[in-house]
């Protein structure tokens, strides 16, 4: 099978802290892949290495076979890697619409000259992408708030916009960092539905970080487990559920059902 992402022996250090310690795994094209582990295990750091915000001290990260280590973050985005952040990182003063349009930055072309003149191509382009953005709005059911500044939205909706912005990019690989944090069950179900839909309809590969084990076990094709920066497990949900080390560090005895 095609590996869209390969992580080989990645280590990352902050002063004395080993945030990642010799981590290796691979993600198949078109699957839902989950990263789990206790707090501070290095999950977000892992995503940061993939999107280029952190630079591993060691190892190799290959995207579609190409080594992307040392590549600037914005270039990786151009390759088709999108990301929704754990701590919401929306542009608070902008409307939902503009946030989503920013998601399409790399798909658009107009520059400072043509944009400023707003004639012909540049204008057409704006309209074309507006249409595409509206699709995302429909998909995530954000219709009513499209002109609202995201800063005033409640947490849960902001999370949805955050995911929407990554989605608008039409990426090959989408990294979701705890997209369901701060949601109640019904809302989680909805988010799960969105994730499944985009995975299926848009054929995206999804990397998911989530603490709700129910969600993780149900949705994932494969799971990697981190603890103190070390990878302590890798496999299908079934395998993970029965991995004793994982149970001890993360799941807890009674949870295994």
């Amino acid at each position: 099978m095609d590996h869209i992402l390969e992580v080989r022996n990645v280590s990352l250090q902050f002063g004395g802290v080993k945030a990642l310690d010799d981590v290796s795994y691979h993600i198949n094209k078109g699957e839902i892949f989950s990263l789990i582990g206790p707090n501070g295990a290095g999950k977000t750091s892992m995503l940061n290495c993939i999107s280029g915000l952190y630079r591993p001290s060691n190892g190799e990260i290959r995207f579609e076979g190409k080594n992307i280590l040392g590549m600037k973050p914005y270039k990786r985005t151009n390759l088709g890697i999108a990301r929704a952040f754990q701590n919401i990182a929306l542009f608070a003063h902008m409307s939902v619409l503009d946030n989503l349009k920013l998601g399409r930055h790399i798909l658009m072309k107009s520059g400072p000259l043509s944009g400023g003149i707003y004639w012909g191509k540049a204008a057409q382009e704006e309209v074309y992408h507006r249409r595409a953005v509206e699709e995302v709005i429909d998909f995530l059911e954000l219709q009513e708030i499209r002109h609202t500044p995201v800063g005033t939205l409640p947490y849960g909706l902001q999370k949805r916009v955050e995911v929407g912005r990554a989605l608008a990019l039409e990426p090959k690989l989408i990294l979701l960092d705890e997209p369901m944090a701060g949601m109640n069950n019904a809302e989680k179900e909805m988010m799960a539905r969105f994730i499944l839909d985009m995975h299926e309809l848009k054929e995206m590969t999804v990397v998911l970080i989530e603490h709700d084990l129910g969600v993780v076990m149900n949705l994932s094709d494969h799971i990697a487990v981190l603890d103190f920066g070390k990878q302590i497990g890798f496999g299908t949900p079934k395998e993970i559920q029965h991995n004793p080390e994982v149970i001890k560090a993360y799941i807890g005895e009674e949870e295994v059902g």
Binding site: S51, L53, K72, P73, Y74, T77, N78, A82, R83, F85, A89, L90, F91, A92, H93, M94, D98, K101, L102, G103, H105, I106, M108, K109, S110, G111, P112, G115, G116, I117, Y118, A122, A123, E125, E126, V127, R130, R131, E134, Q143, R146, H147, R165, L169
Partner: protein, 353 residues
């Protein structure tokens, strides 16, 4: 049928194109045109003095829009506008007075060269943030002025250079009115450019860089090139303003471009409203006319209290500070915000529903 665009009561947009127009409501468009017309006819009614003031306002507005692109929209505080005005002014002075080029060639070149210099001084923005960057731009101000006043061979040193008003064919822009029109048209073009810029890709990227640069990066925005670009675009307009000002006063001299000028421009965009094109214009008008207004006030005061004369200029300084402070305290959104409130009021008038 679903119609999501319930933006303004009574006006339904039926296509994205319509929803995205600069003036989404016909009435607003009409008002904009009326306003333009009004300013076009203005010199017919106003005295030369008033036209001269309006010209200064237009020039300041071009510069303020430029600064707002950098500081208001992209979030990079610049205390170096004064010097960039100087670069624009001197470029045009050298090109026209020394090299004998036409003003019409020199003007855009002044913009471009200032853009290049601005971009150059924008390079530190790669690593510097916030106030650290602000001080770096202050350094740019000090260093540029130092170079200007020392490079006597090119710039005439501290005594400056003399310029001419532009002319086209046989027509000379010597009169107050003609130069006003020139500046006004350039201001209108600048305004449209800026408004358009911020509803398209590049402008949005600037805003993203201002609000959250890490997230902007992950959207695929090359921070460095956009920051430098913001410096360059901003400086372009500041340079144009500098050139216009130079040909208006017909002199360039280092003293014209001091730190106080930089601060005045910052005051313009703050009083006007950060990140608002229209606010920049209002702010420019306000800050340009404030000393004039205070002058009138002083004339009045001194006619009542003739012996106060000595205190007057100091008093003026005091009042200037006070006005700025009151503004920030009572209308942090700036003039643009006040303007919007007035507009909203009239939109619903006479039926507030």
């Amino acid at each position: 049928m679903r119609n999501p665009f319930v933006a303004e009561c009574g006006h339904y947009k039926t296509s994205y194109r319509k929803d995205m127009e600069l003036y989404r409501i016909p009435r607003v468009k009409l008002r904009a045109i009326a306003l333009l017309g009004l300013f076009f006819l203005y010199p017919l009614f106003a005295s030369n003095y008033a036209v001269g003031l309006a010209t200064l306002c237009c020039i300041a507005a071009v510069g303020a829009i430029g600064l707002n692109i950098l500081t208001g929209f992209t979030g990079q505080i610049s205390i170096g506008v004064g010097a960039f005005l100087g670069v624009g002014g001197y470029t045009s002075a050298i090109l026209t007075s020394t090299l004998g080029l036409s003003f019409w060639v020199a003007l855009p070149l002044a913009g471009i060269i200032t853009a290049v210099v601005g971009g150059l001084f924008g390079i530190p923005s790669l690593r510097l943030k916030g106030l650290y960057l602000a001080i770096a731009t202050l350094a740019a101000q000090v260093i540029i002025l130092f170079v200007i006043s020392r490079w006597t061979g090119l710039t005439g040193g501290t005594s400056g250079m003399v310029l001419q008003r532009p002319s086209i064919g046989g027509f000379n822009f010597m009169s107050a009115t003609s130069y006003y029109y020139l500046c006004f048209i350039i201001l209108v073009l600048t305004t449209f450019y800026a408004l358009n810029l911020f509803r398209t890709r590049t402008g949005r990227a600037f805003l993203a860089v201002r609000d959250r640069d890490v997230a902007a990066q992950i959207m695929g925005i090359n921070l460095f090139s956009y920051k430098v670009m913001a410096f360059a675009i901003s400086s372009f307009f500041v340079g144009i303003a500098g050139a216009l000002l130079a040909h208006y006063t017909m002199i360039v001299s280092p003293e014209l471009y001091s730190i106080e000028v930089s601060i005045e421009y910052l005051a313009m965009i703050l009083v006007g409203g950060l990140g608002s094109v229209f606010g920049a214009i209002l702010g420019a008008v306000f800050i340009t006319l404030l000393p004039v207004g205070l002058g009138f006030l002083m004339e009045f005061v001194s006619s009542v209290l003739p012996n106060m004369h000595h205190l007057l200029s100091a008093f003026k300084e005091l009042v200037f500070g006070l006005v700025i402070i009151l503004f920030l305290i009572f209308e942090p959104g700036g003039l643009a915000h006040i303007w919007n409130n007035i507009k909203n009021y009239f939109k619903l008038w006479p039926f507030s529903h």
